[in-house]
C-alpha cells in the first residue's frame, strides 16, 4: 500500500519553529508505524529523530501521538490506522527534537513519590511470604513500562502546573499496596498534595492510552481512597 506519514518536525538547530512534513512510500498493511518511521529515517531522511529500542512493546521508548491518540509506534500496525498517518510527539512534555521529548522530569516524579520498596527490617533467610491474593493487589500496576502514554494524555498534566501525572501515581500504587513495604507514610505524604493525586479529575484518558492495559484511573482512585479512609 502507498502510505503518507505526516510528521511534526522540530529541528532546533535548523529552524526555531515546529513544522509538518509528509513522506510518501510503499509499505505493507502489517508493518508497524515504527517500521514506517524507521524506513523514513534509514532511506529517506536520516535527520528524523525518535527513540525506540525493543520494538515489541516492552521497553516503553516509542510512545507518541498517532492520528491523535497516544500509542506505542511498535504496537500499532498500519492496517489499524490507515494510509494517512499523522505522527506527533507526546503532549505536555518539552519537545527536544522531532519526536524526542524531555523525559527527565517524568523519571524525577518517580523519585518524589518514592516508587521503590522501602523496608529496612532485616530480611528473613528466604523470601518474604506473600499470598497470590496479596500479590494480585499490585499486579496490574507492576506491569507499567513507563512509556508516558498515560501522562501525555492527561489534560490535568498538559498545563505544566506541577501535577506529577498518572504514571508516577501508578508507580506509587505498586508499592502502596505491596504487603512487604513499610514506607507508605512518607510516600502517602507526597501523594496527598494538590500536585499529587488530587489534581486528577478522573477523565479516564490515561486508562484508554495505556498500551499494556493497566486500569490507571482505578489505581489512582484506590490511592485517593486510601488517603481518605486509610485503607491500604
Amino acid at each position: 500500500m502507498n502510505v503518507a506519514f505526516t510528521i511534526r518536525r522540530f529541528q532546533p538547530e535548523v529552524r526555531d519553529d515546529p513544522y509538518y512534513e509528509t513522506f510518501e512510500f510503499e509499505a505493507e498493511p502489517t508493518d508497524r508505524v515504527l517500521d514506517g518511521l524507521n524506513h523514513i529515517k534509514w532511506h529517506m531522511d536520516g535527520t528524523l529523530a525518535l527513540r525506540r529500542s525493543c520494538q515489541h512493546g516492552i521497553c516503553g521508548s516509542d510512545a507518541m501521538r498517532i492520528n491523535g491518540r497516544n500509542r506505542l509506534a511498535c504496537k500499532t500496525l498500519l492496517r489499524e490506522v490507515g494510509a494517512e498517518v499523522t505522527v506527533e510527539p507526546l503532549m505536555g512534555f518539552a519537545v527536544l527534537k522531532d519526536l524526542i521529548v524531555d523525559f527527565d522530569p517524568f523519571f524525577e516524579g518517580f523519585k518524589e513519590v518514592k516508587a521503590y520498596l522501602i523496608n529496612d527490617e532485616p530480611p528473613p533467610e528466604k523470601e518474604r511470604l506473600q499470598s497470590p491474593e496479596e500479590a494480585a493487589r499490585y499486579g496490574d500496576t507492576s506491569k507499567c513500562i513507563q512509556c508516558g502514554a498515560c501522562t501525555g494524555s492527561c489534560p490535568s498534566f498538559w498545563p505544566g502546573s506541577g501535577f506529577i501525572g498518572p504514571a508516577a501515581i501508578v508507580q506509587a500504587h505498586r508499592f502502596v499496596f505491596d504487603t512487604r513495604d513499610t514506607g507508605s507514610e512518607e510516600r502517602m505524604a507526597a501523594l496527598d498534595e494538590r500536585e499529587g493525586v488530587w489534581s486528577c479529575r478522573t477523565i479516564y484518558n490515561c486508562t484508554k492510552a495505556c498500551p499494556v492495559g493497566i486500569q490507571v484511573t482505578r489505581a489512582i482512585g484506590e490511592v485517593k481512597r486510601a488517603l481518605t479512609w486509610d485503607e491500604t
Partner: protein, 580 residues
C-alpha cells in the same frame, strides 16, 4: 572541547548486570560511582526476558532441588564447553540472589503458601538428568521486566548517579590498564571524558548483526567492538543461539512455553516434523536442535507457501490455556499478526537471540587480556556482553537472567575492592580527540553510502551464511563479502549534520562496529571445524573433544584476525554425548 568527569567506578550499560553492579558499588560510599547508558535504564533489553530466572529453591517439588543438579544441567546444556568452576559459582549463588531480588521488592508470582512460584524449563532436571524439575522463578511472563524495574527502583532509592543517553565511543586503555571512557552526550553532541579507576562493560548483546532477531534495535555489540579495537580478545563468538520460534519477518520471540503447554511445529504438508528429528523430546528438544530442524524443513521446500517459515500450532490447546497461561503470546499474535492463536497457527522462523560468547572474564568480572588469563587492570565485563564462560556452546533458558545478577554483583564487589587500592590515572579532555576525529569524519563526509544499506547487506549475509547451519563454503563466501562491507563501512555518510540527538551519526558508528564484529564471528565459525551446541557445521557434523574442547580467543590486529585457544575448566563432569 570535552567535559571531564572523575569517578572511581564507572558502569557502562544499565540493564540487569549494570544495575546490579551499581547497587553493590553503591554500598561503598567511599567509591564514587556513576552509570553511563545510551538508553534510559528501564529501556534496556533485560526487560524483554519472559520465562524466568533459574535457582534451585525447590519450592514446588517434593524432593527439593540442589545447586549441584543445576550445575550439571548447565554443563550438559553448554555441550561441555562451559567452564565448570564458573558454572558452580553461578548455580551456588542462584538461590541467594533470587532471595535478594525478592527482598528488593521483585513482584514474583507466588505459590498458595506465599513462596516464590517456579516452573519447568527446557533442560532443567533433578538427580543429574533423571526428570524435569521446577526451577524457573518467574513473575508472570514478565520476569525480565520485573528484574529491571526492581533494580532500577533500588538504584533510585540509593541515589545512584546516572548519565542517561550517553553513548560510549572509546575506551581509555594503556599498558593493560583501563583509566576511563569517552562518551557522546546524545542531547547535545558534546563529548565527555569519564576518568575512573575501574570500568564495567555491561553493554548487552549483538543480535542486530543478523537480519531476523529477537534483540532490540539498540543491541549492536558496542562493548565488544570497543574491546576488539584495543587489540583485546573476544571469546567463543562462533556460539550464538538462535531461538526456534520467532514471529516470521519480525523476529519477536514466542516463548518456549507455547511448546511446553503442548504447541506443535508443522511444515507445509501439515506434518509434525519434530517427530523425525527428535523422537523422544519432539517439539521440546533443545533450542539448537529445533532451530536446525526448522531450517532443514525450509530448505527441503516444506516451508509454508514455499517461504522461510513453518507453523507453530496451538489451536488444539483451547481458549482457556491460551488466554490464561500464554497471555503475552496471544497479545503478540493479535497485535502483530492479526490472528488469534486459538483459531490459527502462528508463522515462525528461527530468530537470532543470545550470544554465549563475548568479552572474556574470570568469575570476578575481570577482563582477560589474553588466553593465559592475565587481566586488564581496572576493566570488567558482565552480562550478555561478557563470556565467563557459563553458557559454553549453548545456553539453557532462565540462565541469562541469572548470569546478569550473579556476575553483576560479583563484578560490583570486585570493582569496589580494586578501587580501594588503585590510583586514579591521569586523563583529560585531549583523551576525547581520537573519538572526535572518527565521529567528525562521519558527520562531515560528503560522499559514501548510508549506514542502513551496509547494515542490511551485512544482516542478510549473516542470516544466510553464518546462522543456524554453516559450511566452509558458505563461511568463506561470507568472509570475502564481509571484507568488502568492511571497506564500505569506512565511508558511511549521514544526512544529519547537526549535534543534538544526532542518531544518524550514532547508528553509523554502531554499524561500523557491527561489521567489525561480524567479521570476527565469521572467522571464528570458519575456524572451528566441529559441531557443538549452537555452532553447527554441515561439513563437520560431529563434536570433536580431542581437538576442540577449548575456547576460541579472537584478536583483531592490523586488519587481520588472529585466533588462540584457552582450555576448558572441567571440575567434576567429564564430557559425555549430549542426549535429551
Amino acid at each position: 572541547m570535552a567535559r571531564v568527569h572523575t569517578y572511581d567506578a564507572l558502569v557502562v550499560g544499565a540493564g540487569g548486570a549494570g544495575l546490579m553492579a551499581s547497587l553493590y558499588l553503591g554500598r561503598h560510599p567511599d567509591v564514587r560511582t556513576a552509570v553511563v547508558s545510551k538508553l534510559y535504564p528501564t529501556r534496556s533489553h533485560t526487560g524483554a526476558a519472559q520465562g524466568g530466572i533459574g535457582a534451585s529453591l525447590g519450592n514446588m517439588d517434593p524432593g527439593g532441588d540442589r545447586p549441584e543438579w543445576h550445575t550439571y544441567d548447565t554443563v550438559k546444556g553448554s555441550d561441555y564447553l562451559g567452564d565448570q568452576d564458573a558454572i558452580e559459582v553461578m548455580c551456588q549463588d542462584a538461590p541467594e540472589v533470587v532471595y535478594e531480588l525478592e527482598h528488593m521488592g521483585l513482584p514474583f508470582s507466588r505459590t498458595e503458601d506465599g513462596r516464590i512460584a517456579q516452573r519447568r524449563f527446557g533442560g532443567h532436571t533433578k538427580d543429574f538428568g533423571e526428570e524435569a524439575v521446577r526451577r524457573s522463578c518467574y513473575a508472570a511472563s514478565r520476569t525480565g521486566h520485573a528484574i529491571l524495574q526492581t533494580l532500577y527502583q533500588q538504584c533510585v532509592r540509593h541515589d545512584v548517579k546516572f548519565f542517561n543517553e550517553f553513548h560510549v565511543v572509546d575506551l581509555l586503555i594503556e599498558d593493560d590498564t583501563c583509566r576511563g571512557v569517552v562518551a557522546l552526550e546524545l542531547a547535545t553532541g558534546e563529548l565527555h571524558v569519564f576518568r575512573a579507576k575501574a570500568v564495567l562493560l555491561a553493554t548487552g548483546g549483538h543480535g542486530r548483526v543478523w537480519e531476523i532477531t529477537s534483540n532490540a534495535v539498540t543491541l549492536t555489540g558496542d562493548g565488544l567492538a570497543l574491546v576488539a579495537r584495543k587489540g583485546l580478545p573476544l571469546e567463543d563468538l562462533e556460539f550464538y543461539q538462535f531461538h526456534p520460534t520467532g514471529i516470521y519477518r519480525m523476529g519477536i520471540l514466542i516463548t518456549e512455553g507455547v511448546r511446553g503447554e503442548g504447541g506443535i511445529l508443522r511444515n507445509s504438508e501439515g506434518d509434525r516434523f519434530m517427530e523425525e528429528y527428535a523422537p523422544n523430546m519432539k517439539d521440546l528438544a533443545s533450542r539448537d536442535v529445533v532451530s536446525r530442524a526448522i531450517y532443514k524443513e525450509i530448505r527441503a521446500g516444506r516451508g509454508i507457501d514455499g517461504k522461510r517459515y513453518v507453523h507453530l500450532d496451538a489451536t488444539h490447546l483451547g481458549r482457556e490455556v491460551i488466554e490464561k497461561k500464554l497471555t503475552e503470546i496471544a497479545d503478540f499474535c493479535r497485535t502483530y499478526l492479526g490472528i488469534d492463536p486459538v483459531d490459527e497457527p502462528m508463522p515462525v522462523q528461527p530468530t537470532a537471540h543470545y550470544a554465549m560468547g563475548g568479552i572474556p572474564t574470570n568469575i570476578r568480572g575481570e577482563v582477560m587480556a589474553d588466553e593465559t588469563g592475565r587481566v586488564v587492570r581496572g576493566l570488567y565485563a558482565a552480562g550478555e556482553a561478557a563470556c565467563v564462560s557459563v553458557h559454553g556452546a549453548n545456553r539453557l533458558g532462565t540462565n541469562s537472567l541469572l548470569d546478569l545478577v550473579v556476575f553483576g554483583r560479583r563484578s560490583g564487589d570486585a570493582m569496589a575492592g580494586y578501587c580501594a587500592n588503585a590510583d586514579l590515572l591521569p586523563g583529560g579532555e585531549e583523551d576525547a580527540e581520537p573519538a572526535r576525529e572518527e565521529l567528525e569524519a562521519i558527520r562531515t563526509r560528503e560522499e559514501g553510502e548510508r549506514a542502513a544499506d551496509i547494515r542490511t547487506e551485512m544482516q542478510e549475509l549473516m542470516m544466510h551464511n553464518v546462522s543456524v547451519f554453516r559450511t566452509g563454503e558458505l563461511l568463506e563466501e561470507a568472509q570475502e563479502t564481509m571484507a568488502d562491507l568492511f571497506e564500505r563501512s569506512r565511508h558511511i555518510v549521514v544526512d544529519d549534520k547537526g549535534s543534538e540527538f544526532n542518531l544518524d551519526l550514532t547508528e553509523a558508528w554502531e554499524t561500523k562496529g557491527m561489521v567489525e564484529l561480524a567479521q570476527v564471528i565469521t572467522e571464528c565459525a570458519l575456524n572451528r571445524t566441529e559441531s557443538r551446541g549452537a555452532h553447527s557445521r554441515e561439513d563437520f557434523p560431529k563434536r570433536n573433544d580431542e581437538e576442540w574442547l577449548k575456547h576460541t580467543f579472537a584478536y583483531r590486529r592490523d586488519g587481520r584476525i588472529d585466533i588462540a585457544y584457552k582450555p576448558v575448566t572441567i571440575t567434576r563432569f567429564e564430557p559425555k554425548e549430549r542426549k535429551y
